[in-house]
Chain length 176, copies 2
């Protein structure tokens, strides 16, 4: 139990911090999220990166969003192609997720994983927890990033797989 | 090790499922996410709901997004006020998170938790893992939902708190 004396509403506020890039990034490090290897393939080339900034938006129509740094090496292919695949990963892909989040070349990234092209041309990671093949239907520029709104047109759901979570700058296996 | 015989790229694709509301929701249930009690207060009233559809966007300027169903009881206050507070919660707030995700009245929701108003008027949940006070700077309509883009103007970071994750339709405590 806390020894803090509760003096009523408005009286027990912790001191807010100044909002800076650093304090925002530190605070966001406690924000747990699924780990995703996001891929694209098409006329503008093949690319992939690891992202936690992925979020469901609506089921009508089935839509998710992915944030991408416009300065990243993967951005031109994602901004050129109109499709992507979100592969949510579990413990079997921890090393691969770190590789896709680092500075390795595109060729080395894809050589290290077992990807297959679906009939629609999505690059699906074999044995991911779940894969969402998507058409990018809208983009929203927001500071350094683009938010890509994506309509889901293909799902491979390997329900029952072990799930990973990124939190406090580490990968964790979620005990379900 | 798997007994599966790898017959080369393109040959080992699991059969994709038809994309329906149900298959999308089922697939998204394996997508682990932080649990947040999102609040608003102002001229258009007080409201709050539990959300996992929250995502960091960029640190320049510090920005996150929150998705809200326009048909939800909480929506009018969020769409009227131009501020909100994202309170990311841990195991101490599992019951409260379920309450804010259910059908309980606004009055009962807030009576069940220890909220304080910050100087800027944000409704901050005492002892949340981290709280982000935000100005809503842009909205994007997407199907049934609005995506609210939020510039963070206040952070209360209780680094070291235990963290919760929503996955497969249950709350889990993340072992860090």
């Amino acid at each position: 139990m806390s020894a803090r004396i509760d003096m009523g509403i408005n009286s027990v506020m912790e001191t807010p911090q100044a909002v800076t890039k650093t304090s925002f990034r530190n605070a966001m490090s406690s924000f747990a999220g699924a780990v995703n290897i996001v891929t694209t393939d098409g006329a503008h080339g093949r690319a992939g990166f690891t992202a936690t900034a992925v979020c469901a938006v609506t089921d009508s129509p089935p839509t998710l969003l992915v944030c991408i740094n416009r300065e990243s090496s993967a951005a031109p292919a994602f901004l050129g192609n109109n499709t992507l695949c979100v592969n949510t990963v579990g413990p079997a892909h921890h090393e691969l997720a770190m590789l896709f989040g680092g500075k390795t070349s595109t060729e080395e990234r894809f050589a290290a994983g077992d990807f297959v092209s679906s009939a629609a041309g999505y690059l699906v990671l074999t044995e991911a927890v779940v894969s969402f093949g998507c058409l990018i239907t809208k983009r929203q520029r927001m500071g350094t990033h683009d938010v890509m709104f994506c309509e889901v047109t293909e799902i491979v759901d390997r329900f029952g797989s072990q799930v990973s979570v990124w939190c406090r700058r580490k990968l964790h296996e979620l005990t379900l």
